[in-house]
């Protein structure tokens, strides 16, 4: 049995499982007419978690085995510069609106989470771990560490935020009567980082570029703003 167990803990198994879960969830997503809660990131994560629980595989060990996949998140992030560059003329057109929305929206994202968690009786650690929930994972973990949050809780908060964002975006935008891809993309990237950005590219290149822009700006701005704001408040 040890041979089989070693195989289940190998990168080969990890990567095959994730790719398989992705293919299957992508098929379900398309067949369902793109139901937001069946988005491949959500469906794939549920399938992968289910298999890990069934086969009693430790998540931390699995995450290490799947390291090859995680590696590509870096170059994929760098690639966001290309659509950003191509949509530069649109971004220039509304630079002032984007700047104001960024500065107030990113602060709102942080404060709204802390206030709601406080009202619902969250511990101080939970509040601190939630502060960076709208920021893309690698930056969020850095922020969380510097203010005394817990990295695993922050990482989960970031992911759940992304999932809530992509599930809610269509009904919310319809409610606000917003059809403009620039607003659609920027708000989603600001509130729901990389998961939102992946979803925005499915809508249109313009929505994707504005979402990438919000993702980068929210991340870098929050990395400076959140630790400083907490430092002053204490």
């Amino acid at each position: 049995m040890t041979g089989l167990s070693a195989l289940l803990h190998s990168p080969l198994f990890a990567i095959t499982l994730v790719l398989g879960a992705y293919q299957l969830s992508l098929m379900l997503y398309r067949k369902s007419g793109q139901q937001p809660f069946l988005h491949p990131t959500i469906g794939g994560a549920v399938m992968v978690a289910g298999v890990l629980i069934l086969l009693d595989i430790d998540y931390t060990a699995f995450n290490t085995s799947a390291g090859w996949l995680n590696f590509w998140l870096g170059p994929a992030t760098v690639a966001l510069a290309i659509p950003l560059y191509k949509q530069l003329h649109l971004i220039r057109e509304m630079a002032a609106a984007l700047a104001i929305t960024l500065v107030t929206g990113a602060a709102f994202a942080c404060l709204s989470a802390i206030v709601v968690a406080h009202l619902l009786g969250g511990s101080e650690t939970t509040l601190l771990s939630l502060a960076a929930k709208s920021v893309t994972t690698p930056i969020a973990i850095g922020i969380s560490d510097s203010i005394g949050g817990v990295a695993t809780i922050t990482a989960s908060a970031v992911i759940l935020t992304g999932i809530v964002g992509i599930v809610a975006v269509n009904p919310l935008m319809r409610l606000c009567r917003i059809n403009d891809d620039r607003i659609w993309g920027f708000s989603l990237g600001l509130a729901a980082h990389a998961i939102g950005t992946a979803r925005a590219f499915e809508r249109s290149p313009v929505a994707g570029a504005f979402s990438s822009l919000a993702l980068c700006l929210t991340g870098t701005y929050s990395a400076v703003f959140i630790p400083l704001a907490l430092y002053w408040l204490r």
């Binding site: 799947a66 919310l172 607003i183």
Partner: protein, 114 residues
């Protein structure tokens, strides 16, 4: 997917990581790499075909690359169970409010220009 485009992405990622390591900035290397590539595109006036193709492929695969971190949500541990109401409530309410806030603010600011 062209290898030359992939090489450019890897080089900019590496350059970004170098900047972060040397400067100690609390920003991920990939984000610095993104900003460096963006600057290079501005100077050069556009991306090569292979870079554009590879970049498009990589961006299209983002949902796949986010599956493993997302699965971590199911493994937060038992000591955290008492925090779930506050945690989930803050995320759901906070994210909905943030989306509404930024979308409505932008709609208001963009006003007549649509």
């Amino acid at each position: 997917m062209k290898l030359s485009g992939l090489l450019i992405l890897l080089c900019f990622h590496l350059a970004g990581e170098m900047v972060v390591t040397l400067s100690g900035l609390p920003i991920p290397g990939a984000v610095v790499g993104l900003l460096l590539l963006f600057t290079a595109l501005l100077i050069r006036g556009g991306a090569t075909r292979s870079l554009e193709q590879t970049g498009g492929t990589m961006i299209g695969l983002l949902p796949l690359l986010l599956i493993v971190p997302s699965a971590g949500v199911f493994f937060l541990g038992e000591h955290f169970s008492g925090q779930w109401p506050a945690f989930a409530g803050a995320i759901v309410a906070g994210t909905l409010l943030t989306l509404l806030f930024s979308a409505l603010l932008m709609k208001f600011l963009a006003g007549g220009k649509q």
